[in-house]
Subunit: 158 residues, 6 copies
């Protein structure tokens, strides 16, 4: 059965020893969405033109959130992040905003949590900036879609 | 049309002036879930008995995450939080873990973002602790279910 | 002679006791500028239309910086900030970007340091985002222009 | 025309990908000053002998500020700083306090922002500690004077 | 038997609800010591005259540490600290450095943890600054000596 | 006489330049204890079975505290921690809880402060969670017991 590496043999939580893992190039991509009414989404799209820039601010929050991952997630290792990029795209089909984050590092452990934290922080910021208009928005589909590098290798979750 | 209060009349982002709002008792409840396979959920439930305590650690992360809300969300006001509680319940029907957070304050603005941030941080921590077993878990249904207090009054989203 | 209130009678630094000061409404306004070449300023102004939004990002950084004041300045009291707003205005006369920050609180001590920290953080962010174009920009004229509230009352520095 | 590397080809802000840049030895030096009245400066100089040590405390704040750079400046990379030193020198000619910060790293990107943040934080701390004596001090001349290492090489700004 | 208030009736950790507790004036005093050889202590005492100021830097670290209490201790409430003062006294009798911290707030819960965190952070800083001279120093006797205010009233531990 | 490396030749504090030190594998182990009454210790031991998990929460706090070392201790270098593990063992002989922390890095400077900070943070958390039952507990014997790696080599303090 799969082992939960964050626990030692007695079931006590620890930050896993990665001292002997090689420094390799790693990448992770995560995505998620903020579901809202078509009316609220219209505010976002309008806003990009002549009102406040909801998506631009959420992008910055997501980038800064990625840098806070090791502070937020108890057993995460601090990592020298080398790239963070977020896409926030209004999607009238949902309706809502789709968020994708890409994070890279050259380190001894992966950046999956950094990518997921970037998406979550950006999604919370979108919620915050629109909650005066709609309180029953929903954050959903937050998941890892791709990772590569490190011993466990490539993972795709299309 | 609804106004986005985080922007001024020229569309520039600001932290809204709440100086003249009264200090009132406020509460917010948010929920969400981490969807996973039945096998992964079995690890969580087992873990509570004799291996690592995934849910206990995620609960602590959620409480600490609530306290970091104003650092993570650019336009949130810092607030004197007076209570944070999280419930993390394994649900074989999903299968997955259901998360609920309740936050209270006596302040000039609400704690919706604190409750949502608590849920998100706990969900990310659940993901982190189980990702060695399953990488395609998904965080979903993160939303505000209840708030009360302040000028906008009671909100229910069952 | 003026007393430096951050030191006790033996010259030892402490965080001044404000326990007995009343909670009053307080405001502070600070300003500063980032001096640059006309060419660099043109990039900023252009950028607002169809390239990256330097000033929008610096505004967010300034708001978030204000919330970090008590972490950065050793003897500052943590304060429940109730408003932060920043203006960043390109000025071809300098040439450069003029920055103004307004901060409010209802607390036992003033928000001068919060306003000055907001200006400094926004100015550093402007520098960071433009340094690929010009490295010899200069941050200058960072000063308090107005405060009101509290025992020491109104201060104007036009 | 110079490119602003913090924006992608569509003008969206991102943290630049430095994954493929070599780890090299890098240094940056920044300076700035806090301008004050001769009377206020006398307090600082006296203080070093038998009252509170304004400059010693500002030096510590500057060192700690350098370590917070990636938290304050949205698109800065976290870096393993290997040295921070600050000089704070009273200058009766200004009158005021001159501040110089030197920062080193072995990393994939430079430490210009760390040096500038160290100077700014130290300057704000000087202001904070002296504001009971004088409120119209001014922080000025904050600029990069030297950097070396990395692809863009040596820069001097005497 | 005494109840552990940080756990609910099912034994789950939470941040205790203090919403209905009155805002009262509270104070806490904690102490501790760093035990070292007489030779190392001589370095500290000498240092106050013409070398580095170990105790002055540890005092600043203790004050800043008090402000980080709610970030470090999972179930602590964030509190508007209104005063922090530390005494660090060389004691040739130990030999070592005695540390005392006094913290005040006007809040809904006490500042015992803030005072203890201030002492611990100052003690760790003393250790850090002297460890090049002696590695087997010891931090001991960290305890609460006095508190007052709030429902549980006065506590003395001489 | 031993030199205090955190001060330069004029006695000014700085963060020591480690740029030219090799990246080597380093480990540090620290220990400490929280002394309490037999009755309070009984609560801890009981708690592990069917009430709140004091030691589990303190373990998480210690791990997260280790990651905050460079923020708390003014002259500490930020380090890429590769492992943190804590043992918290009830000891009826004291009576109290014994705490041991092991930290590893591959860096240019040691992790002694990280191990000591982990122990201190865990000890403060134990105090916080039990203070409703006993206020005169004491944290003692916090010291480095082992380090290896780096120029100064192996150190044992049994």
């Amino acid at each position: 059965m799969a082992e939960l590496s964050h626990f030692d043999s007695e079931g006590k939580a620890h930050m896993v020893d990665v001292s002997d893992k090689p420094v390799t190039s790693r990448i992770a991509v995560a995505e998620g969405a903020v579901m809202m009414s078509a009316e609220t989404l219209a505010l976002v799209m309008e806003g990009r033109a002549d009102k406040g820039d909801v998506l631009g601010i959420a992008r910055i929050a997501g980038i800064m959130g990625a840098k806070k991952t090791a502070e937020l997630i108890p057993l995460c290792h601090p990592l020298p992040i080398t790239k963070v990029a977020l896409e926030l795209v209004p999607d009238e089909g949902l309706p809502g905003v789709r968020i994708t984050a890409t994070v890279k590092t050259g380190g001894q452990t992966g950046v999956e949590m950094e990518a997921l934290t970037a998406v979550s922080t950006a999604a919370l910021t979108v919620y915050d900036m629109l909650k005066a208009a709609q309180k029953d928005m929903e954050i959903s589909g937050v998941r890892l879609t791709f990772k590569d590098g490190g011993k466990s290798g490539r993972f795709e979750n299309p």
